[in-house]
Amino acid sequence: MDLKAASAKTAYLILADGTVFKGRSFGCEGEVIGEIVFTTAMTGYEETLTDPSYCGQIVTQTFPLIGNYGVNDEDYESRTSVVSGYIVREYCEVPSNFRCEGDIDSFLKQHNIIGLFGIDTRRLTRIIRETGVMNGMITTCEPTEEFMAQASEKIANYTVGSVVPKVSVKQPETFKSESGKYKVALMDYGYKFNIRRELVKRGCDVTVFPYDTSAEEILKFAPDGIMLSNGPGDPQDNTVSINTLRELIPHKIPTFGICLGHQLLALANGATTVKLKYGHRGGNQPVTDITIDRTFITSQNHGYAVVSDSLPESAGKVSHINGNDKTCEGVQYTNAPAFTVQFHPEACGGPHDTAYLFDKFISLMEENKKCR
C-alpha cells in the first residue's frame, strides 16, 4: 500500500451480525450485499475473480497481499467476473509480471466490482469460521445508527438464489480439438474455462450446452461423454438440471462431474446435499482417494457437500473424502459409467495434482466406445 492508497475513500463492511469493519474503497465505489466467503489460496486471485461459482458472493482473500502480479486476459476462467464484492487486506498498485496487462484495481472497476481493502481480514475470517457463512454489505456510506437499521434488514434478507441461469451460456458453443477423437457435451452450470481446455487438450471436441438443455437434446447430440461443470449456488435449486441428469443416467453415457456437477448427479441419484458451515475454498485441501489410499492436494470452492450416507447403495460409492473434515469429495457410480468429484481437478487456480482425472474420463470414453 503506498501513500495514495492509504488515503483512498473510506468504506465499510457490515456483517449480518452487526459487526462493522472500517477499511478503504477500491475497484468500484458503491454498495453491495452478498454472502461473505473466504478463500485461503495464496495465488490465483484472477482465477478466483473470474470463477462463476462465486456468483452472489463477496470474496475475502486471507492472503494479505493481492494483485502482486497484476491481471491478464489469458487467465480468465470465464468471460467476466461475477463476484458481488471483493475484500483484501492490501492490493498491489504496481504489479510485476511479464504477462501483466493491468492492475487489480482497474480490473474491478472494469467489471463493476465493489472492493474493500485495509481491513483485518484475519479477524473477518475468524468470525466467519466461528459463526458460519454470513451475509454482509460493503458500502462507502457511514454506518450511522439510522443506516445500520435500514441495512441490517436488507443484509438479513439477502440470498444468493438461483444463479446458475445467470452464468450459463445461452446457446450451445463448440470448441474443436486438434484430433477430434471424442465428442463431449459440457453441461454449463457456470463452467471454468480450464475444464474445457483440459478436455480439448486431450482430443475432445467440446460443445458447451446451456444448463437447461433437455435430455432429449443431449441424446440427439450423441456425445461420447458428458462433462458436468462447476457452478454457483445451492445445488437443490437446480431442479431442471437434476431432472435432466436423472433422465440421462439410464443411457450409460460416460460422465464426469466437477463440484456443482458432482452435487447435481448425486441429487439426481437420490442423495441429499447439505450446506457446510463455511465451506472449502482454497488451494490446499487434502482429498483422499480411498480406492487407492492416496491423498492429493486439491483446489476447492464449494459451500455445499453431498451427504455421504445419503447416496443409495445401488447408485454408487463414495470414492473420495476430505482429509480435514471427512466430507464426501467424490463418487464412483456403479449404475452408470460415471464418476464425480467435489474438488477442482482443472485447478486454475490451485494445484494440478488431480489432473489425471481427465485422463480417467478419456479412458472411460475410450472403453465405452470399444464396448459399443
Binding site: 500500500m1 503506498d2 501513500l3 492509504a6 488515503s7 473466504f38 485461503t40 489460496a41 495464496m42 495465488t43 490465483g44 484472477e46 482465477e47 486471507t62 492472503f63 494479505p64 497481499l65 502482486n68 502480479y69 491478464n72 487467465d75 487486506r89 492490501e90 498491489c92 504496481v94 504489479p95 510485476s96 509480471n97 511479464f98 504477462r99 483485518d120 481480514t121 484475519r122 479477524r123 475470517t125 475468524r126 469460521r129 466461528e130 482454497g282 488451494g283 490446499n284 485441501q285 487434502p286 483422499t288 489410499d293 492416496r294 491423498t295 492429493f296 492436494i297 482429509g323 480435514n324 485447478a347 486454475c348 487456480g349 490451485g350 494445484p351 494440478h352 495434482d353
Partner: protein, 1068 residues
C-alpha cells in the same frame, strides 16, 4: 502405514560444528528428530561432535556420543551400539555424506543397518551432478546447460561451447564452497582449479550462467505411499547469482502468477517422486522473468536451512514429519499438531508474509570482500513476520542487529548520486540498503531494476518505505502519518527522529503492537498454536489466547539471542532453551521471544508461548503490555538480551537474576576498575584514550605489547594486540574513522596462560563447575582458543586464587545466576581480564562434561532456590573422570581475504569437543573433530615472527623427529638451520623467486603450515597471503605456536580410532 516393526534402535548423525552453510538449523532438525523417535518408543543413539547443541543434551537420546564425525568413528559406534537403522537426512550435508559413504562401502548391509529417509540411490541421484542431470532429463525437468568435468582443461573446453559467464559448482561441498562465477577463461582457470581440489570426488559442474533469473524454492515432503505436498514456497529478493543463504528471502513467493507458481510446484512434486525421497526435500528453481522458461538449480534430499525457515514461516514442523515418515508413517496419518484435528497431509496457507534477512560477519572482518556470489557467507539469519512486505522488512532490519531502525544506511547518506548509482552495481551485503538510498533520492524504479535485476515488485515496496520516510520528514507530524508509519512497523523513536518532532508534543496517540497467531491455515481452522507475531492491527489474538487459557502459574519471558554470528552462537540458544525447560519444570509459564528461525528456542513446542519478533526496546514493551509477566530473564540471550536490561528495569519490569546495576558495573570500565580495587584483584594495567597521540603515549608507558579495544563492547570485537607504534596508529586510524563516543581502552598485554571460569552464584554461595585452561596463551580470543577442562597445568595455589577471586567478584557484583570470568596467569600471578555476568559459550560443554546443569541451577536460583536448597556446596565442583577439550572451528574457506591469524578478535564460527580419560586422547579427538588430519609424515612449512622464533625450535625438532620434511621462509629457515634442524629454504612471496613459498604451497608437498606474523591484518601482507593460500589449498595452518605444539603431540601419539574409547556422555 504404521511404525515399521523392524525398527527398534536408530542411529542419528548430527551435523557437527557450526560452519557457514551448516548452522543451528540442524540442531533444530536433529532435536525434533530425536524427540519424534523417542516419542515412538524407539531407542535413539546420537553422534554429534558439537557440544553446544540441544540435541546432545542428556534426555534427547538414549546414548549420546560427542565424538568426531569421521567414517571410522561412526563405524566404531555402529559396531558398539548395533543399531538396526540409521537416519541420514537430519544431519545436514555431513550426516548425508557419511550415511552415503557407509552405504556405498557395504558397511551398512554387512552390519544389518537400514538407511532411513533417503536411500543411497536417492542421494546419488540428487548429489552427483551427472546422475542428477540424467534424472531430471528422464522426467522432462529442464536443467541449465552444464557439464560435469574432472579437469580444468575440460572445464575450459565446455565454457568455450556454452559461452561466458559460467558458474562453477564443486560436487559434494557445503554451501557451495569453492564455487563461483567466471567471466573469462582466466577466472575460470582459477575457480575450476580451486573447486576441483575442494570437491571430495574431484568433480565440478560448469554451467551456463543464468544470473538475473528469479530464484524460487519449494520445500516438499513425500511419504512412502507416494503422497506429496509442498510446505512452502520462497522467493529470493536477489535474483540468481547470489547464494540463497545470502539472499533476502520472502515467503511465500509473491511475483508468480498462479500459472508459474503451479508450474514450479508441479515440477517440485515430480522431482521428489522421481528421487523417491521419503521425508523432506528442497527444490531450487530459476525462472526467467519474461517467460515460462525455468531450470532446476539444485535439489537437497534432506532437511536444510531452507526447511528450517519454511517450518518457522508456516508452523509446519518439517523435521518432525520427515522423521515420522522415515520410520514408516504416511502423511495422512500424522496429526497436524497446530490444529490438533487436521493431518500433516495438507499445505500450509499463510495470511502474512515472512522476510528472512542474512547475518553476515563483516562487522568483524573489516578487510574481507563483502561481495555476494554463489559462495554463502552469512553465519546466521533472522526472520520477520508481517502482514505486509514493508512491515516484515522493517522488522527484519531491526532484528538483524546492525544498529539500524530504517533501511537508510549511514554510510550512504554522504554519497553523491553518482556514487550511489555506481554502488548499485555492486552485488554485496549492502545492496538492499543502497537500493533504498537510491529510492529516497528519487532514482526511478526502472533504473534501479535495470542495474540490479531485482524484481520491480520488491523495489516498488522499498519505494513505499522511502516515500513514507520522506513524508515523515516533510512538514508536521500528524496522527495519519503516525498510523501509517506504525503499519509499516516504524518505531516511535524512529518516527520522532525522521520527523524531527516529538510524538507527545504533537498530541499523537501512540499505540502498542497487537499479536496474531501463526496457525498453518490462515485461520480456516481454530488452532491452539502458542505461536505469535506482532503487527499493528485491530485484534490481539495473544491477549485472547491468554484470557482463554487461565492459569495460576506465574509468567516469565525469556529473551533469546537473535541471529547467530561470530561471538554469539548457538550456545546462547542452548542456554535460553534450558532456562525455558527449567521454568516449565518449576511450574512457571515460560514465554520465549526471539527472531532466529534456525534454532530450537523458536520451535513453538519449546516454551509455553513463542513470540517471533525483533528484540528492541519498543518491540519488547509491546510484548510486556500484552503478557504482563511476573518477571523476565535476560542473562541467557547473549548481548542481544543483556542490552535490554536497563530499559526493562526503567520501565518497571522485574529482571530475574543479576540486576541491571551489576551488569553495568561489569561493563563500565571505570566502575569495573573500582570494583576490582575493592576486591583487591589485579588486572593488567591500562588507560583510556581518545586520540592516536594519547594511545601512543599510553602504549609507551605500558610497554609493548599492548591490547587495544573500544570500551563499549566486550567479547573481543575490534580488539587487537599492538606490538609497535605503527600497529597502534593503524588501529586508531580505523577506529577513529567512525564517530568515537566512547574511549578506546589500552591495556598492557600479558602473554600468560588464559583461564576461564563459569560460575553460578546465589548471593551467598557460589559454585564453579569447572576451571578451564586454554592451550593458546592470552591474546587469542577465548572463543578461538582450545579450551581444556579440567585445567592441566595450574598449581593448587593458583587454582585456589582463582576460586577466591571468583567468589569475591561474584559476590561483589551481586551475581544471581551465571557469571563468566576470564583470567590470565602470568609469572605465577592471577589477573582478571574480563567479567561477564551472564551465560557464556562454554556453559553447554561444561554442563555436559561435569553433569552440572548450570542453566537449570541458575534459573532456579533466580527464582529463589539457593545452591544449598538444590544440594550444592559452595566452591569448586569435584573434578570428574573425563577430560574435555573444546576445539574451535573456522569457516575461512568461505570468507575470502580474511586473515586466519588468530588474535584477540574472535573468528571461529563453531566448535567441536573431544572427550576422553586422558588429556592427550581428548585433544586428539577434539582436533580430529575440528577437521585436523593427523598426517604421519609430509611437509611442514614455517614462517614466523621474530618473537616466536626461539619457540619454534623445539617444535620444528619434534616435527623433524617424526619424519616430516621442513621448509621455511628465509629468516625462519636460516634460524632453524643454525640450530641444527635441517630446513629447506624458500623465498618469500614478494621476493618473486623460486623456490617460492606460494609454489611450494601449491606443490602439494605441504601438510601443515605454521605461520605467525608480526603485525597487521591487511590482505596485502605476505604473511596473510601465505595463510590464505593455505586455506585455499586446504592445508592446516597453525597461527599459534601453542596450537602447533598441541597438534604435534597428537601426531606423535600415533593413535588410530581403534585405540580410542567411545564415550557415551549419558553415562558420565
Amino acid at each position: 502405514m504404521p511404525l515399521r516393526s523392524d525398527i527398534k534402535k536408530v542411529l542419528v548423525i548430527g551435523s557437527g560444528p557450526i560452519v557457514i552453510g551448516q548452522a543451528a538449523e540442524f540442531d533444530y532438525a536433529g532435536t525434533q528428530a530425536c524427540r519424534a523417535l523417542k516419542a515412538e518408543g524407539l531407542e535413539v543413539v546420537l553422534i554429534n561432535s558439537n557440544p553446544a547443541t540441544i540435541m546432545t543434551d542428556k534426555h534427547m537420546a538414549d546414548k549420546i556420543y560427542i565424538e568426531p564425525l569421521t567414517l571410522d568413528v561412526v563405524k566404531k559406534i555402529i559396531k558398539i551400539e548395533k543399531p538396526d537403522s540409521i537416519l541420514s537426512t537430519l544431519g545436514g550435508q555431513t550426516g548425508l555424506t557419511l550415511s552415503m559413504q557407509l552405504a556405498e562401502e557395504g558397511f551398512l548391509a554387512e552390519n544389518n543397518v537400514k538407511l532411513l529417509g533417503a536411500n543411497p540411490e536417492t542421494i546419488h541421484k540428487a548429489e552427483d551432478r551427472q546422475a542428477f542431470k540424467d534424472t531430471m532429463e528422464s522426467i522432462g525437468e529442464p536443467c541449465i546447460p552444464s557439464k560435469v568435468v574432472e579437469t580444468v582443461e575440460d572445464a575450459m573446453e565446455f565454457a568455450k561451447v556454452i559461452g561466458y559467464p559460467v558458474i562453477v559448482r564443486p560436487a559434494f561441498t557445503l554451501g557451495g564452497t569453492g564455487g563461483g562465477i567466471a567471466n573469462d577463461p582466466e577466472e575460470l582457470h582459477e575457480i575450476a582449479t580451486n573447486g576441483l581440489r575442494l570437491s571430495p570426488i574431484t568433480q565440478i559442474l560448469v554451467e551456463k550462467c543464468i544470473s538475473g533469473w528469479k530464484e524460487i524454492e519449494f520445500e516438499v515432503i513425500r511419504d512412502a505411499k507416494g503422497n506429496v505436498i509442498t510446505v512452502c514456497s520462497m522467493e529470493n529478493f536477489d535474483p540468481v547469482g547470489v547464494h540463497t543463504g545470502d539472499s533476502i528471502v520472502i515467503a511465500p513467493a509473491v511475483t508468480l502468477a498462479d500459472k508459474e507458481y503451479q508450474m514450479l510446484r508441479t515440477a517440485a512434486l515430480n522431482i521428489i517422486q522421481a528421487l523417491k525421497v521419503e521425508g523432506g526435500c528442497n527444490c531450487q528453481f530459476a525462472l526467467k522473468p519474461d517467460s515460462f522458461e525455468y531450470s532446476v538449480i539444485e535439489v537437497n534430499p534432506r532437511v536444510s536451512r531452507s526447511s528450517a525457515l519454511a517450518s518457522k514461516a508456516t508452523g509446519y514442523p518439517i523435521a518432525k514429519v520427515a522423521t515420522k515418515i522415515a520410520i514408516g508413517y504416511s502423511l495422512d496419518e500424522i496429526v497436524n499438531q497446530v490444529t490438533g484435528k487436521t493431518y500433516a497431509c495438507f499445505e500450509p496457507a499463510l495470511d502474512y508474509v515472512v522476510v528472512k534477512f542474512p547475518k553476515w560477519p563483516f562487522d568483524k572482518f573489516v578487510y574481507a570482500k563483502k561481495t555476494l556470489g554463489t559462495q554463502m557467507k552469512a553465519t546466521g539469519e533472522i526472520m520477520a513476520i508481517g502482514t505486509s512486505f514493508e512491515e516484515a522488512m522493517m522488522k527484519a532490519v531491526r532484528s538483524i542487529e546492525l544498529g539500524m531502525d530504517t533501511m537508510r544506511k549511514k554510510a550512504f547518506i554522504t554519497f553523491t548520486d553518482d556514487e550511489v548509482r555506481a554502488k548499485l552495481h555492486d552485488v554485496d551485503v549492502d545492496r538492499s540498503f543502497c537500493v533504498f538510498e537510491a529510492l529516497r533520492r528519487g532514482f526511478s524504479v526502472k533504473e534501479i531494476c535495470d542495474i540490479t535485476t531485482i524484481d520491480k515488485w520488491f523495489v516498488e515496496k522499498l519505494k513505499n518505505l522511502a516515500q513514507l520516510e520522506l513524508w515523515l520528514e516533510d512538514g508536521e507530524l500528524t496522527q495519519e502519518k503516525y498510523d501509517l508509519a506504525k503499519k509499516y512497523s516504524y518505531l516511535d523513536k524512529t518516527i520522532e527522529k525522521l520527523s524531527g518532532q516529538k510524538l507527545a508534543d504533537k498530541g499523537i496517540k501512540t499505540r502498542h503492537a497487537v499479536y496474531k497467531m501463526v496457525d498453518t491455515c490462515a485461520a480456516e481452522f481454530s488452532a491452539e498454536t502458542p505461536y505469535f507475531y506482532s503487527t499493528f492491527d485491530e485484534e490481539n489474538e495473544a491477549a485472547e489466547f491468554i484470557e482463554q487459557h487461565p492459569t495460576d502459574k506465574k509468567k516469565i519471558i525469556v529473551f533469546g539471542s537473535g541471529p547467530i554470528r561470530i561471538g554469539q552462537g548457538i550456545e546462547f540458544d542452548y542456554c535460553s532453551v534450558h532456562c525455558v525447560w527449567a521454568l516449565k519444570e518449576m511450574g512457571y509459564e515460560a514465554i520465549i521471544c526471539n527472531n532466529n528461525p534456525e534454532t530450537v528456542s523458536t520451535d513453538f513446542d519449546t516454551g509455553d508461548r513463542l513470540y517471533f519478533d525483533p528484540l528492541t526496546f519498543e518491540d519488547v514493551d509491546s510484548l510486556i503490555a500484552t503478557e504482563k509477566p511476573y518477571g523476565v530473564v535476560v542473562q541467557f540471550g547473549g548481548q542481544t538480551a543483556i542490552k535490554l536490561t536497563k530499559h526493562l528495569q526503567e520501565t518497571g519490569v522485574k529482571i530475574l537474576g543479576t540486576s541491571a546495576e551489576s551488569i553495568d558495573d561489569a561493563e563500565d570500565r571505570e566502575k569495573f576498575d573500582e570494583l576490582l580495587e575493592k576486591c583487591e584483584i589485579p588486572r593488567p594495567k591500562g588507560h583510556t584514550v581518545f586520540t592516536t597521540e594519547e594511545a601512543l603515549k599510553a602504549a609507551e608507558e605500558l610497554g609493548y605489547p599492548v591490547l587495544l579495544r573500544p570500551s563499549y563492547v566486550l567479547g573481543g570485537q575490534n580488539m587487537i594486540i599492538a606490538h609497535c607504534d605503527s600497529d597502534v596508529t593503524e588501529y586508531m586510524t580505523i577506529i577513529t574513522a567512525t564517530e568515537l563516543e566512547n574511549p578506546v581502552l589500552i591495556d598492557k598485554y600479558l602473554m600468560g596462560t588464559e583461564v576461564e571460569v563459569d560460575a553460578i552464584c546465589d548471593g551467598t554461595d557460589f559454585l564453579i563447575p569447572g576451571i578451564m585452561e586454554h592451550i593458546e596463551r592470552a591474546g587469542v580470543h577465548s572463543g578461538d582458543s582450545i579450551s581444556v577442562y579440567p585445567c592441566q597445568t595450574l598449581s593448587e595455589k593458583i587454582k585456589n586464587t582463582i576460586i577466591t577471586y571468583t567468589e569475591r567478584l561474584a559476590k561483589a557484583l551481586n551475581v544471581i545466576g551465571l557469571v563468566n570470568i576470564q583470567y590470565v596467569v602470568y609469572n605465577n600471578e592471577v589477573y582478571v581480564i574480563e567479567v561477564n555476568p551472564r551465560s557464556s559459550r562454554t556453559v553447554p560443554y561444561i554442563s555436559k562434561v561435569t553433569g552440572v546443569q548450570m542453566v537449570d541451577i541458575a534459573t532456579k536460583i533466580m527464582l529463589g532456590e539457593s545452591l544449598k536448597d538444590q544440594g550444592y556446596k559452595s566452591g569448586l565442583y569435584p573434578v570428574g573422570d573425563y577430560v574435555a577439550v573444546k576445539v574451535p572451528v573456522f569457516s575461512f574457506e568461505k570468507l575470502h581475504d580474511v586473515d586466519t591469524q588468530l588474535g584477540p578478535e574472535m573468528k571461529s564460527t563453531g566448535e567441536a569437543l573431544g572427550i576422553a580419560r586422558t588429556f592427550e586422547e581428548a585433544l586428539y579427538k577434539g582436533l580430529m573433530a575440528a577437521g585436523f588430519k593427523m598426517f604421519k609424515n609430509g611437509g611442514v612449512m614455517f614462517s614466523v615472527k621474530n618473537s616466536d622464533k626461539p619457540e619454534i625450535i623445539p617444535l620444528a625438532e619434534k616435527f623433524e623427529k617424526l619424519g616430516f620434511e621442513l621448509y621455511g621462509t628465509s629468516g625462519t629457515a636460516s634460524m632453524l638451520n643454525r640450530n641444527m634442524i635441517a630446513t629447506n629454504f624458500t623465498y618469500r612471496i614478494h621476493e618473486d623467486k623460486e623456490p617460492n613459498v606460494i609454489s611450494l604451497l601449491e606443490s602439494g608437498k605441504i601438510n601443515y603450515v605454521v605461520s605467525t606474523s608480526e603485525t597487521g591484518r591487511k590482505p596485502a601482507l605476505d604473511s596473510v597471503k601465505i595463510r590464505r593460500k593455505s586455506v585455499e589449498r586446504s592445508i592446516a595452518c597453525l597461527t599459534s605456536v601453542d596450537t602447533a605444539n598441541a597438534l604435534v603431540k597428537c601426531i606423535a601419539m600415533d593413535k588410530t580410532v581403534d585405540d580410542l574409547e567411545m564415550v557415551d556422555i549419558t553415562k558420565i
